[in-house]
């Protein structure tokens, strides 16, 4: 935890006050990466640990069913804030776990006792479903875990992009950069 005072050491190439676009982009791409780009590696790793703990914790609880941009669109808006990981999991869910209904042609979760044709994705009777759909409290909690992960990553993105909140108990301002000879 050697970078605990990183925001104060801007002159040594450490985080600066003001808007840091690269940190925002990095934080949006992977949880914690924004802080790592800014030089706060330990903080970035801890952000990553917390956000991914919640996101994958949600999947451990409710299965892949909790990440679903079609059936739970509103929840997915929050989950999407985790970044490309959420979109990747959703893509896998939609394309490799859902089955195509033989009558309507729509993608849906497989029913119990129904399998998935690996070539066409069409539901076939008699197999076992690629995944079990979560229900009740377990589904609610798993979805909530993953959505909270996205919300917290939004806080981390803002903190990475606008590093003004920590400076040994006071706020960093652009004038701190000027005093240390760095650009705001």
């Amino acid at each position: 935890m050697s970078d605990s005072s990183a925001p104060l050491s801007a002159a040594q190439g450490q985080p600066k006050a003001g808007f840091v676009p690269l940190s925002l982009v990095a934080a949006a791409l992977f949880p914690g990466a924004g802080h790592m780009v800014r030089g706060e590696r330990t903080r970035g790793l801890l952000v990553s640990l917390g956000v991914l703990w919640l996101f994958f914790g949600g999947m451990l609880v409710g299965g892949i069913d909790v990440i679903d941009s079609r059936e739970d669109r509103i929840w997915f808006v929050g989950q999407a804030l985790v970044g490309p990981i959420a979109f990747g999991v959703d893509y896998a869910h939609q394309n490799y776990f859902k089955v195509r209904d033989p009558k309507s042609g729509e993608f849906r979760s497989a029913y119990p006792g129904e399998g998935r044709d690996p070539k066409t994705g069409i539901a076939v009777a008699g197999g076992s479903p690629p995944n079990r759909k979560s229900i009740a409290k377990i589904n609610e909690l798993g979805t909530l875990f993953a959505t909270i992960a996205g919300m917290l990553n939004l806080i981390a993105m803002i903190d990475a992009a606008f590093p003004t909140a920590r400076a040994g108990g006071r706020r960093l301002t652009p004038s701190d950069n000027a005093a240390q000879g760095t650009r705001p």
Partner: protein
Amino acid sequence: MSPCNMCLTSLLAYTPLIDPIDLHKHWYLLLIPMALGIALAYKAVRVDDLRDYPRQVAVMTVQVVVAMISLGAASYFFVQYLVPLIVAKG
């Protein structure tokens, strides 16, 4: 089927990250890992000195769990005791 066999069956059917976990009877225990996860991510952003991080995470986790239990108890008290009193007086 005995309860032990049922546990074993549900455990064998569980594929992590793909299938839901069979915790329907003890779902409230999931409050603890959720509170811990929230504290892990939030305190990573919030604390000034990361040497305080483990203690602050522990404190926030306990605070969230105690607050949720208290809210649950308060809701129970309101619905089970206060509402019947209000209805009886009305």
